[in-house]
């Protein structure tokens, strides 16, 4: 086990202890681990399995079924581009091509500076003001390629301020 994961595991056990009493606790546990750590470390799987009295295969199966759960660390920000029909009707295909080109990554990829992870999403429920993207927990509508660049630049300058 690596040193990094040794630091993460106390978080995992704390989350499990707080939620395992709930009926159908696995999804709430996975969500909370990912909220706290940004991803679900592979070393968490046997710990979760043991506390819920399930097999490691069961836990792995659930993690891999849902698009949201990830097993590697994401970038500082996650940018999701909507690919669904209402956004397609307003230029989402061009927007996703632009996003990939601008960030230099494909879906599920993270930029070299570890600032942005690009993800796809099927509908953010903002279908009357398409096309839409989500940056972390904020949804943005009527996103043109220019607006996309401006939003990404804001993310980059935020990071610089922190540095």
């Amino acid at each position: 086990m690596t040193a990094v994961n040794e630091q993460l595991l106390p978080v995992v056990t704390e989350v499990i202890a707080g939620l395992k009493h709930k009926p159908g606790a696995l999804l709430p546990i996975l969500h909370e681990i990912q909220n706290r750590l940004g991803y679900i470390p592979p070393d968490a799987v046997p710990v979760i399995a043991e506390s819920l009295n399930q097999s490691r295969a069961d836990i792995h199966g659930v993690i891999s079924f849902y698009h949201q759960f990830r097993t590697t660390a994401p970038g500082k920000h996650t940018v999701e581009v909507c690919r669904a029909e209402a956004c397609q009707a307003m230029g989402a295909r061009q927007l996703e091509a632009h996003a990939k080109a601008t960030l230099g990554v494909d879906y599920h990829g993270t930029t070299g500076d570890k600032n942005v992870t690009l993800e796809e999403v099927y509908c953010l429920g903002n279908c009357a003001c398409s096309p839409s993207i989500r940056i972390d927990d904020e949804i943005v509508g009527r996103v043109t390629p220019e607006k996309f660049d401006q939003l990404i630049n804001e993310l980059r300058s935020q990071t610089l301020e922190v540095l």
């Binding site: 949201q68 509908c123 429920g125 279908c127 927990d137």
Partner: protein, 533 residues
């Protein structure tokens, strides 16, 4: 400078926020302070006039006056033109909100409070008829509540349109294994808030604009069938709804509208929000139940029905947000009052949702029977791009694309079924003439590849083969043979899949082939050219 406090409404709805409402509220407050004006800013829900968002409303003696869409650069001129004193000279002024034709012509039963109230204010909710349905239900026995729902004619608003009253009756009559052996009988109310269809946002608007209505509807359902625990299965793509629901549930619990002793009646109902994790299939009810149980969202075979063997094996009502949201009105005004709207076997109202390439997108609640064309033209006002409309997908990604020849169809379940289409959850996605329908057909298959749960082979493998076949058609390889193969594949998926994912993915594909054959008849660059001409 005015001495009195002026009330300003700026929505906290997702679309309003996506168009800049938070920053706008901050700047308006700052500018008011600068100018020495006293204002109170209330973060209401959205009225659903999304093309006007952020829609700012100012309370005046004659009613609320609307301005929209307001951007930060408009703030100075709004103040300069005395918008706080009810002056209507500003170019963004829409007049009295209630008089805007798009809103005035609607028949709002479920969305009667949307945008008027602060969504988490219990006082606002109760001032506008809130919890009257619950109070009545607390005086009734379970069977009388179910009978009222049957009288309303309400059919499941998630898309399947199954009579809600009959589903409730089944759960009311169900005896779980425990009950048969004399132990405590556990039943559940599950709200399907996994609103994954593109072009739909009515569930989101209920949860963000009027969450107590959903809480009240679920509590009434619990009283009707004897369930003391409810879950809202909410898609994780809705962070704002998540926040608002949790605020509302906490306040309702604290005030005795939820919990162990509902309004001192001795009855119990607990409610919890559970988040999905980006899986479209979990909007299918059995897959949703698996997910709530902490498993992969694999579709279950039916029978047994979830009404008999549902969540954790217990009798369970699984209803869409809109079905449950219609319940407080039905209980408070009576089932017959609801049934007086609509036509044929489609009774009550449906919130239609205009989306995609449309000039005036938003939520339009009307009785069943309005034609699609009325919605597209009178309400929608044509395309956003200004180009001619070419195709309209009604009912979500598993429903047909309709050509103009079908736009005069009345929006009700049976008429849509008769033309091989569906109303689904009431979403309407508009495309202009730049759309390439073979590309849309390909996407339908591609979406199924990404979202199939994998249980049925025709859905899991067929969708991948579907993408390949459509690619060959688009590349002009063996066109005639591949068109035939696509047709055969669609039939196999329809007949060989357990649920609507595999069973309906072919519908948009087949409709694209049938009504827009020119997009499949020539190599794709040429097809696009002809579509524009």
């Amino acid at each position: 400078m005015s001495n009195s406090v002026t009330t300003i409404y700026i929505p906290r709805d997702t679309t309003a926020l996506a168009m800049g409402a938070d920053r706008l509220a901050t700047e308006i407050a700052a500018e008011a302070a600068n100018r020495g004006e006293s204002v109170e800013i209330i973060r209401n829900g959205s009225r659903g006039l999304f093309w006007l968002e952020p829609l700012v409303e100012v309370e005046t003696t004659s009613g609320r006056i609307a301005y929209g869409p307001v951007e930060n650069r408009d703030i100075d001129s709004l103040f300069d033109q005395a918008f706080l004193s009810g002056e209507t000279t500003h170019p963004l002024c829409q007049g009295l909100t209630e008089e805007i034709p798009y809103l005035k012509k609607q028949q709002r039963l479920t969305f009667a409070r949307a945008g008027i109230t602060d969504p988490v204010s219990l006082e606002d909710y109760q001032q506008l008829d809130g919890f009257n349905g619950l109070k009545k239900a607390l005086q009734m026995d379970g069977q009388s509540i179910v009978d009222e729902v049957k009288t309303s004619g309400l059919r499941g608003r998630g898309g399947a349109a199954f009579p809600t009253g009959i589903k409730w009756q089944t759960v009311l009559d169900a005896k779980s294994a425990e009950a048969r052996s004399g132990k405590q009988d556990q039943k559940y109310i599950v709200c399907n808030a996994d609103e994954g269809d593109s072009g739909t946002f009515a569930d989101r608007m209920v949860m963000e604009a009027d969450p107590y209505m959903l809480i009240e509807g679920m509590t009434i359902a619990g009283l009707a069938v004897g369930a003391d625990q409810g879950y809202i299965y909410l898609r994780s793509e809705y962070p704002v709804a998540h926040q608002i629901l949790n605020e509302a549930i906490a306040k309702a619990e604290a005030a005795g509208f939820l919990g162990d002793n509902l309004l001192n009646s001795g009855k119990t109902f607990h409610l919890e929000v559970r988040l999905g994790a980006k899986a479209y299939i979990c909007g299918e009810e059995t897959s949703l139940l698996e997910s709530l149980e902490g498993k992969r969202g694999m579709v279950r075979s039916k029978p047994p029905l979830p009404a008999l063997v549902g969540l954790f094996g217990q009798p369970t009502i699984v209803n869409n947000v809109l079905s449950l949201a219609a319940i407080p009105y039905i209980l408070s005004q009576g089932g017959q009052a609801y049934a007086n709207y609509g036509m044929g076997r489609s009774l009550g109202t449906l919130p239609f949702q205009l989306a995609g390439n449309i000039k005036r997108g938003g939520l339009i609640e009307l009785a069943f029977g309005v034609t699609l064309r009325e919605l597209l033209e009178e309400y929608g006002g044509g395309t956003f791009s200004g180009q001619p409309m070419r195709a309209v997908q009604v009912g979500g990604p598993l429903c047909a694309y309709l050509p103009e020849s079908q736009w005069d169809t009345p929006m009700e379940y049976e008429s849509f079924q008769a033309i091989g289409a569906g109303l689904g959850h009431g979403g309407i996605v508009v495309f202009d003439n730049s759309v390439d329908m073979s590309e849309q057909a390909r996407f339908s298959m591609e979406f199924c590849v990404a979202e199939s749960c994998g249980k049925c082979t025709p859905c899991r493998i067929g969708s991948t083969r579907g993408v390949e076949v459509i690619d060959r058609i688009r590349n002009d390889e063996n066109r005639a043979a591949n068109m035939e193969l696509l047709d055969d594949l669609c039939e196999t998926m329809i007949d060989g899949s357990l649920c609507a994912m595999g069973g309906m993915t072919p519908f948009p594909v087949q409709s694209a082939v049938k009504y827009f054959p020119e997009d499949f008849n020539q190599p794709k660059q040429a097809a696009k050219g002809s579509a524009r001409s």
